[in-house]
Amino acid sequence: MKYRRLSSLKAIVAFLVFTLLISACSSPASAPASSDAAGDTASDAASGDAAASGGDARQFEGTELNLLYFAMTYTDGLQQLLPEFEEETGIKVNFELLDEQASVQKTQLELASGTGNYDIVGIQSGNMPLYGQNGWVTPVENFYGTPLSDPDALNPDDFIGSTMDALKYDGVQQCLPMFAATTILYYRLDIFEEFGIDGPPATYDDLIEIASQIDTDAIPAIALRGSPPSPAGNVWSFGTFFHGEGAQYFADFPNDMTPTVNSPEAITALENFVELLQNYAPDGVASYVFNDVVTAMQQGNVAMVIDGAPLAGRILNPDESKVIDKLGFAVVPAGAAGQKAAFVAHGLCIAADSPNQEAAYKFLEWATSAETMRQVALASNHLAVTRDSVWEDPDFIAKYDFDYGGGSFLTAYQDSLAVAVPDYFPPFAGWELIGQRMGQAVQEAEIGEKTPEEALNDANEDMIRILQDEGYLQ
């Protein structure tokens, strides 16, 4: 009797452990994606004689490349052009596109565990130090001047300098940029006219003043990202307020990493941000992610948004937009420290654990070449191009220079890039930890759980601990 009881106890404990592991460890984000990645062991037959055959377009024929990133305008356009590349080179490229957060997470897990499942991965400039420090990507600079490289297609000097700099680590070019983003203010010309307001707000005080005048139940004054509490979410939106007031994340980055997010400047910035969200924004704005902001503007449900300039392609997409002919564009308002716009570059990298390094380079070179970028911009809603020559292209200008009487969109975009903060997110591997804690504080203030001052004081205290734990602070 005793024996039987023991064994059934064991079985139940084992069952418990098993259930626990399944419920705890299965990440829903990775579940739908694994099918593509798992069984892939694409052969790299061609790499052996690569150098010898030089510029042979079909030297990697039969190679299969896997790309991992999230669905964005650039990948949309690239997928449309892909058949040409595949036909020309005989390389097959599989796109695995998730949502943004899931893709970043999956990329990092794949690279950290060295699975070699992906040959090309996308990157946001904020993650460059993380990827560089851990050696997760093969520096693209390694291929410069090799027989494999086509100088006309590569043409590094044609890239916008700031986007290239954002994807360097230790002074070495790691990845190539394909997306340059900054923030601008979009506002409804018709609503401004209706309320007798003659132009976009020059300062954050003006912004709040105007918002209080034009806010109605039918069309609230402004939408901003209230969520998720992370750098890609509310910290992205809040950053223009934060930098605008002259606030800094650290006492003297990167020499003195003492956090300073509870400075008087930061508190003022958060008070302004919260005042707008709590009083003059749509209900539920604290859970608005970037898609909600885009949709609110696109569908005519809000009078102003401050968000990525590249999103104009979607906000003004002729098939969906209800605000064509109604929008004005302006550089973000100024705080005590002037106008400070967001900045982020997205790029494509060669995964260090990819078994198809050279074929991956060929793809990267093609995908970021001026000609491809131009065609992508014309074929999709991608206007966040990273090459000077495309910015100056007449077809590009004809397609994207929206102007409905409130001034040129491309001018506002370029003026914003000029005032964009290069280190909008401080470039170091621990940034995500600080950014997420910041996002939490911003959200606590948004929903009124804490005052801006309390939220930032608590965040600052936690950040000190996090930075000490991770060895950035004594």
Partner: protein, 293 residues
């Protein structure tokens, strides 16, 4: 007593299962425990090293972690209690032979076939302030609905509601099948003795069902943490950590923050917490079985 031969045969038959369990559960648990004693973090300025129980010490000054413990407990206790009560009521009603009950039963078990991810997506739409069905229904009775997912109190309530909706059918179904095996003559005797319907539920159904309630309750507690996908989709632990359970924080620490050592410590703690909750009830369950024999 069994002969030693029979015992050896037991082991032989159990060996393949044990090997799988060892590989899939014991090994990962050991690795997790080892990792929890290191400072492994891809975001650190320093290389990984052995730091003893420092991660565990850190846990108890981490407010976000401390905040996640009561939330885990709430999200185990409240939904399970509600599921048991509602499941009982529904089972009692469904046991009655009323017209149309066959269809009702079919409708009723619908949530059981939905994956939790789908449940989460569905509820997220229902809770959206402008388009969601929940606030519309409330407005019909003159109540202005809250911003479900952006208010800390209501977000927690929203998760609880989704969990109750999702797993009450399972509980009800278990109760119903158990009730259908009850001898009819007791009820007939009760009717003859003049017992009302409510009295026979109170004095016959409930006592007979007690062992089932207990078993189902234990299972629900163990599985209550399968609520993870609902949290993931519905609130992502927010707003401001209001729906972040211990295992969700462990997941965020590991997969978003890439602080592998720290995340492992959180998960080891979580494992202990779960053992603490379930071990006594499992022991009780076994003793009960013993007595029945």
């Amino acid at each position: 007593m069994h002969s030693s031969n029979a015992q050896r045969a037991y082991y032989k038959y159990l060996a393949p299962t044990m090997a799988v369990i060892f590989l899939l559960t014991v090994v990962p648990i050991i690795v997790t425990v080892v990792l929890s004693l290191t400072s492994l973090s891809y975001r650190s300025a320093n290389p990984s090293r052995f730091i003893g129980i420092q991660n565990y010490v850190r846990l108890f000054s981490d407010e976000r972690f401390l905040n996640s413990i009561p939330i885990s407990i709430i999200l185990i206790v409240v939904p399970v209690a509600a599921q048991l009560i509602l499941g009982f009521i529904i089972a009692v009603i469904m046991k009655e032979k009323l017209p149309g009950m066959g269809w009702l039963r079919l409708l009723f078990v619908a949530p059981m076939v939905l994956p939790p991810i789908v449940m989460g997506l569905m509820w997220r739409i229902l809770f959206t302030p402008q388009l969601g069905g929940v606030n519309y229904l409330l407005s019909l009775v003159g109540i202005t609905g809250p911003n479900w997912l952006s208010d800390p109190t209501y977000a927690l309530l929203a998760v609880i509601m989704a969990a109750v909706w999702g797993w009450t059918p399972f509980v009800g179904l278990m109760f119903l099948t158990s009730m259908q095996s009850f001898p009819v003559d007791i009820y007939e005797a009760a009717v003859i003795d003049g017992a009302s319907w409510t009295k026979s539920v109170r004095y016959i159904t409930l006592p007979l069902l007690r062992p089932t309630i207990f078993v189902v309750g234990v299972f629900r507690v163990i599985e209550a943490l399968a609520i993870f996908p609902i949290i993931f989709i519905l609130t992502n632990g927010g707003p401001a950590g209001a729906t972040e359970t211990v295992n969700f924080y462990g997941y965020v620490s590991g997969f978003n923050f890439l602080r592998i050592g720290y995340a492992s410590a959180i998960m080891v703690f979580f494992f202990m917490m779960l053992l603490l909750i379930t071990a006594p009830s499992v022991g009780f369950l076994l003793r009960n079985q013993q007595m029945e024999r």
